[in-house]
Amino acid sequence: MADKNIKVHVEHLKKNFGKLEVLKNISVDIEEGEVVVLLGPSGSGKSTFLRCLNQLEHATAGTIIVDGHDVTDKHTDINKVRENIGMVFQHFNLFPHKTVLQNIMLAPVELKKMTKEEAEEKGMRLLARVGMDDKADAFPSQLSGGQKQRVAIARALAMNPDIMLFDEPTSALDPEMVGEVLNVMKELAAEGMTMAVVTHEIGFAREVADRIIFMDGGYIVEQGTPDEVILHPKEARTQDFLNKVL
């Protein structure tokens, strides 16, 4: 296996919102099949970093290469690149006017990746995988938060992405629903999906992450294996953060 295959290459990424510098100078590579968890206090730029990867936020400066495509280049067809980058949001963002299955089928059918029949079959398979196949015809408003998020994961997977971005996927959930979503993510990681996850679930990070990146104030403060970062943090800011959350 080409486990040194770089999926995401970020170099000197800067992002400003007006005068506010949210990302100051971020350089990082993510390898194929790697699960990277981004930790850090709120406002540290984790979510913004994630959103820069699929250009929901446009980088102010720097280069981001995903799957060999320079997404910061204006000539890149960003829609094409996004087809290969699934994203899961804190607030699920399911389409409320469509059923669960229609949510999943929309993009593959509209982008002519699959016929209606193929998309439906694939949709049902994905729903079975996240344990939601009995709700295929339900509307999002009829689902619990955990169920919504599992559907949102299935929706992102329907495009056969080779990278998945998770932006605080469990932060809006009631505590008893966090586990069901994390389990789906664990399975996905075990299957070799390349993942970048912003989360506050330290337990999940320890168990699943290949690498943890700790961010603060728009910089990467330190990174390494879960053992290195969580159990033996070198930097004072990391220690401080972990003391507060653990």
Partner: protein
């Protein structure tokens, strides 16, 4: 009253037909105008934003009666001055439709814009993150949700436009109010005539708003 109904009933009904025709035509064009300018306003293109804002402000800043005069008298005279002839003319129906469509279109643009902006921006982001283009995301994800919140305001605007057709009596369009003037002119029965005209408007508008309420309820049922 009976006299007026028996001798002018048919004419009154015919002029009500003209009122409805003018309303319908104006609304169709107003929807188109409204969508175009609303999309200009919600997009990120600064030039389009500017054009959209100027249009809405300009049209909302001019009374409909002035707009109607401008289009019916002003525009043809300007065109003829430029071409050096006197051939260009607008019928009262054409000018009336343009004036009303422009006017109603500006309000419609604001209603549609507000509707689009009421949809959580996460919807657009989720759609874009799947690889759908801005246009497709707008059409398939945002607008279907926006329309639900827009329906009550659009219906309200329809009713306002129907009433505004009466203003176009000033350019001689044979709609209901104009007919009322004609009847008063020949019978001198102001009270009866305007009462009848008023009641006619009321019947149509109340009927329409009842239908509209039904439609609104149906749309919201699936929510």
């Amino acid at each position: 009253m009976g006299v007026i109904i028996s001798s002018y009933g048919k004419l009154l009904l015919a002029s009500m037909g003209q009122t409805l025709l003018l309303t319908l035509l104006s609304l169709i064009f107003a929807m188109i105008v409204g969508f175009i300018f609303a999309l200009m306003n919600v997009g990120k293109n600064r030039l389009f934003n500017f054009i959209g804002t100027v249009y809405v402000d300009a049209v909302r800043g001019v009374p409909l009666i002035v707009l109607a005069y401008f289009i019916y008298f002003g525009v043809p005279s300007g065109v003829n001055m430029l071409t050096g002839s006197s051939d260009f003319k607008l019928t009262a129906l054409q000018a009336g439709t343009i004036a009303l469509a422009m006017n109603c279109g500006a309000y419609m643009a604001e209603i549609i814009r507000a509707g689009i902006e009421s949809v959580d921006k996460g919807q657009m982001e989720a759609s874009r993150s799947l690889g759908l283009s801005y246009g497709k995301s707008m059409r398939l994800v945002v607008l279907p949700q926006a329309i639900r919140t827009m329906v009550p305001s659009i219906i309200n605007q329809f009713i306002i436009t129907l009433k505004d057709t009466s203003i176009l009596s000033v350019i001689g369009f044979p709609e209901l109010t104009n007919m009322g003037k004609t009847i008063v002119g020949s019978t001198f029965k102001s009270l009866q005539t305007w009462a009848i005209v008023g009641i006619m408007y009321m019947i149509v508008i109340v009927t329409l708003s009842k239908i509209a309420k039904r439609v609104e309820r149906r749309i919201n049922r699936g929510r």
